[in-house]
Symmetry: C2
Subunit: 525 residues, 2 copies
């Protein structure tokens, strides 16, 4: 009897160490750490592990928390613990290496998630604890889903968003530059084809500003800037390489996921994407934490506004702009925003390689290059040049124009690609199919969401050549049978899915019949 010196009714003895041998099962669980345990293994029995239990795994200096899946078959040998791909990588084990297992409590920071769901505010310390637990892989996917739900919509105030942004920016690696001015740009997305990053970076860098740009892969869209850039050059730079590229060329277009700037963001996005749940607070923290970690002093944020864009009204854009500026100010980051026209997709291509071709056309001064993409990029570059002190107020546009038209931006882009590992040619899809107008008339509306969905069904962004080309713009006059868009796919199955979807969506491209301008009669294509 403990504490009293009386004899115990039984003695548990010394607990045997819970050790199993690592087995890589090769199962990609999309990021969640999963440990597979035999139902009959001695460790499982004596430790009381069951499916959905959380267990701590340790091997050498590395540890993580995993969700248990119990294996009832002969998938594992006796004495083995199976690991999912991310758990295998995070633990850094070799096949057969000994792994120690122990009970893991539910992370303490989940109490703050529950409290936030029940209406409490999210304090700065709680935010830091949550971010720390997420980065350490202690959140199961359902825990992360609950946190995202707790932050959904506009449920975070300025102080909460600031605390979360600070915690996220501090959680990973951070870049420091010996320059008073380091610029950056970002687009909150929702507008297919809006690939201005690949133009703004070379224009701005050609003018001598430092712009260490990291981009994300697609979250819910058919292509992120990193996906597009990857069809032109390697983007998975490590921090040292990214630093070297920026120091040599003044700019880069790297994949943020590879450099571990704000690593919590990537883990959140992994669950946000399939949930399809937006959060203003998470959006602000996602954007600004990466900029702060990248060492930026001045950031320009493009907020496309339109009836089918991510941001639907000027009011919503103004609110988001104020929130971004407010959080930025609280964290010493100068944030400017631009509410841009988000009524229709930008450029011609939607999908990684197709968007890359639009970018190349603009850089190379091709007269057939999409004028809207060119104009948007010039405007953003102009604002960045003025923010960064390279042009006086109102002088930025002329400078940006001259750098683009004179070929300096194109040369700089090639130099950046070379520095990132070598320029390459975007792939071409093997399967394409044209969709035509069922009747003539004028294009009244193009639905950004449905266009994005169509490109995704065609295979973008996982299939880089997949997507679509839009052959019309708002206001275009079309004849019956005229090509509206071309779907590109890398497999027949994906092409068939995309075509079936396009034919079921009357609102994809809305064509008004001649004689009834603006009547909005939908035309199935």
């Amino acid at each position: 009897m403990r504490g009293a010196g009386l004899p115990r009714r039984s003695d548990p003895g010394v607990r045997p160490p819970a050790v199993l041998h690592a087995r890589r099962l090769g199962i990609d669980t999309s990021g969640e750490h999963v440990a597979y345990l035999r139902a009959d293994c001695a460790v499982c029995r004596s430790e009381g592990f069951g499916t959905r239990a959380r267990i701590a795994l340790r091997c050498g200096a590395r540890d993580l928390v995993a969700t248990v899946n119990v294996v009832l078959s002969a998938l594992l040998e006796e004495g083995e613990v199976g690991l999912s791909e991310t758990a295998w990588a995070a633990l850094g084990v070799l096949p057969g290496q000994a792994v120690e297992l122990a009970h893991a409590d539910s992370p303490h920071s989940l109490a703050a998630v529950r409290a936030k769901l029940l209406g409490a505010r999210l304090g700065a310390q709680a935010a830091a604890a949550i971010v720390g637990d997420i980065c350490a892989g202690r959140y199961a996917d359902i825990d992360t889903a609950a946190f995202i739900a707790a932050c959904a919509g506009r449920r975070m105030d300025l102080a909460e968003a600031t605390g979360l942004t600070r915690a996220m920016s501090a959680a990973g690696q951070q870049l420091h530059w010996n320059r008073p001015v380091v610029v950056d740009k970002h687009c909150v997305g929702g507008l297919p084809g809006n690939r201005t990053t690949l133009l703004v970076v070379p224009i701005v860098a050609a003018c001598g500003l430092l712009i260490p740009k990291t981009s994300s892969r697609a979250i819910t869209s058919p292509a992120g800037s990193a996906d597009v850039m990857e069809t032109l050059a390697p983007v998975a730079l490590d921090l040292a390489m990214m630093k070297a590229v920026v120091e040599r060329e003044g700019g880069c277009i790297a994949w943020g996921g590879a450099v571990s700037l704000s690593p919590a963001d990537d883990r959140l996005i992994r669950v946000e994407r399939p949930l399809g749940l937006d959060s203003e607070g998470l959006l602000v923290a996602s954007v600004l934490s990466k900029k702060i970690a990248a060492g930026a002093s001045h950031v320009l944020i493009d907020i496309p506004v339109g009836p089918t864009a991510k941001v639907r009204s000027a009011q919503a854009a103004a609110r988001l702009a104020a929130r971004l500026a407010g959080v930025g100010a609280a964290l010493g980051l100068s944030v400017a925003t631009l509410a841009s026209d988000g009524a229709q997709p930008v450029g011609r291509g939607i999908g990684p390689a197709l968007e890359a071709r639009d970018v190349l056309a603009v850089l190379q001064g091709d007269p057939a290059a999409p004028a809207d993409l060119r104009q948007r990029a010039l405007l953003l570059a102009a604002m960045v040049l003025e923010m960064g002190g390279k042009a006086g107020p109102g002088q930025g546009l002329a400078l940006a124009e001259s750098v683009l038209a004179g070929g300096a931006a194109w040369r700089k882009f090639q130099a950046i690609c070379a520095a990132q590992g070598g320029m390459r040619t975007p792939p071409q899809a093997r399967y394409t199919e044209v969709l035509a107008a069922a009747h003539g008339g004028r294009v009244l509306a193009i639905d950004n969401g449905r266009v994005a969905q169509l490109a995704k069904l065609a295979g973008a962004p996982a299939a880089p050549a997949a997507g679509l080309e839009l052959h019309v713009r708002l206001g275009s006059a079309v004849d019956a049978g005229q090509a509206l868009l071309t779907v590109h796919a890398e497999s027949p199955g994906e092409l068939a899915y995309a075509i079936a979807y396009a034919q079921s969506q009357a609102q994809l491209v809305r064509i008004g019949r001649p004689g009834s301008p603006g009547a909005g009669r939908s035309a199935r294509i």
Copy 2:
């Protein structure tokens, strides 16, 4: 070119049917349907499936939606699709049988979950759609987590809770009895050891009322009534057997999960449990949907109130009681509630077998039987007897007493156990350890949550003999070294975990030193 008769630039041809052969992988994913696909399989490539994709699987007349895990190893042969245990069972396939695969969109009802998270009300139709999708296995665990988060705390009003309750009760099987009065009872839980169901059912049934009781297994507690009953008799009755037992004996104590009454509830609980997130609306819908589906006309609900119970204040209990009565009234169910003393655990044992022994002691008239458990059960039985018209107002307690003291309840309990498949003896744990008071004094507080946690760490409810015996009650005078509780475990590892936890929790049992009554000085045991 479709719709225009122009030649296509390429022809996708006829899409090959996406068919793979079923392989049971024997992986228990805790209910989520998971389909394992080889990364290099032709179907995977041509259909564009990747990890976290949702795919529809069909085999004969059965279908389901599963989350994809991509397999990068040789776990699967070419042409195979691996299935998790629940997916295997739900699809009802044989090894090697052909399974058709197709893209599955995110379920439409998720839009209502998102809207609810963003502040919209949950309409009755939306609730029905969500419940339907959950029952059909179309929600991934993260979707279910988001729905639970959307309903967290008090975020559902009366109409929302009513709509959800109706949808849940209508979603599964339903029982109908040819009797105007069918009674039931329920406890909202949070009080370890409060195992009155196993006493109320035989008392009430012995008096001639119909009480078709289904109980749940533990959600976040060390034992549910189904877990306790299972140590005494089989509880996994199908609907026909449950009906037969009730028609013969007037009552049963069956596991609700086996009869598919309100099946959405079990799927919600599977995610609620590890999330540890409470929702008033989900609680009301969970309780009442099962009662309605079981055909009850009158239900008594026990709401234990105490500083460490699930319901912490009289105000919260009154609110919950009003919500339960309101939803019941809207759905034609007469609901009475009893706010009971929830200051400390009930009875002596905590854990399935240990609680079963307390129940047996009460039924058998053992003078050492826990008086508090006996008294609570009598009070509840009395109210049910009065609600059901077997006793006039104020007469129920005497009737209940006589039935219990006279042995009729014990005979009825044995008859019910026999009808359910045969009575058995609760198991005895192999490992036990006594924890003693570090100093003498009076017991000032017993923490329900910590006591429950201790029993769970000892292995309850998965290990039915595990848990603990409490040797003291609030107000007990103890000497230094006197036994406070005995931990029971089925494995040394679990015993060690539980003991380590108990020693770290000064608040588990609080003992005031003599001479400072009520001072609340905590005593580590």
